[in-house]
Amino acid sequence: MAACLERVRGGDEVAARELLVHLTPLVTKIVRSHLPRRTAEEDLIQAVFVKVFTKLDQYGGSAPFTHWVARVAVNTCLNLLAHERVRPELRYADLSEEEEAVVQNLASGDGDLPSDQNSGARELVHKMLAMLNPEDRLAITLLHLEGRSVEEVHQQTGWSRALVKVRAFRARQKMKRHLQQLLKETTI
């Protein structure tokens, strides 16, 4: 990777194409997790790569190159998400049958959800995430859905470790309030 990077910096176009191919799975995965609504996936991947290649001189080499690329990708998505409207509210009536079953289970049961309700849970979480601001959404996605550590989130976003924890805490509090509202509506 380091040798390839050096060749790219020297203007080697073949190396640039190799680097592009090598980085595509990483960038695609990040873009898919944080894709704003009404944005084409390929356009966003292309925008990330343009940033990576035109700012290559800014990579200092203190962190692994893939971490730097991931940070560029996350920040590009975050900038686009910042212009996206936050969903005002989520009512029980807006839920699909699958999501309703999940909420009913959460209201009555304990422990893990049955595995056949996991996809419903994911859908519901995505709807709840749409009510958060982009930073809070990112914190929950990385920490709770992708299972990353605080250290990994710090490296990927550039936020301090304390900020990662604070954002996650605040986001959880907001999600708790929204979920409580839904749970209340099931009992009515």
């Binding site: 203007g11 176009e13 640039a16 194409r17 592009l20 191919v21 595509t24 799975p25 695609t28 995965k29 898919r32 390929e42 991947i45 292309q46 790569f49 343009v50 290649f53 035109t54 290559l56 001189d57 999940v102 959460l106 209201a107 304990d110 422990g111 893990d112 959800l113 595995s115 309700q117 996991n118 996809s119 849970a121 994911r122 519901l124 979480v125 929950i140 920490l143 709770h144 859905l145 992708e146 299972g147 990353r148 550590s149 605080v150 996650a168 959880r172 999600m175 708790k176 979920l179 749970l183």
Partner: protein
């Protein structure tokens, strides 16, 4: 996140269920030929701009050096102009007059 899941907390249960749900793995296709070329085109342009900028920097340094040299020359010339020059002919004349008068 390395935190314990509270089995009775609805949000923890919901997030755990969501994390366990497998997203439909869509295959990752490479960039299209057009997109790849647009990226490399932007990269080439940024490189040529960078090279142009380094030449521009050299040009600016040259202009600054030439300006400084010109200013130094003007200062030296001015300094020479204001230094009183002894009129050698007048001095000789005076000496000649003295000799003649004797």
């Amino acid at each position: 996140m390395n935190r314990k899941i509270n089995p009775s907390d609805p949000l923890d249960r919901l997030l755990r269920g969501a994390a366990l749900a497998r997203e439909i793995d869509r295959p990752i296709a490479g960039l299209t030929w057009a997109a790849e070329n647009r990226v490399l085109g932007a990269w080439r342009t940024s490189r040529s701009v960078g090279i142009g900028e380094s030449w521009m920097g050299l040009f600016r340094a040259g202009v600054a050096l030439a300006g400084a040299t010109a200013l130094l020359t003007v200062l030296i010339t001015w300094h020479t102009d204001i230094t009183p020059v002894v009129d050698e002919v007048a001095a000789t004349d005076a000496a000649f007059n003295v000799v003649v008068m004797r």
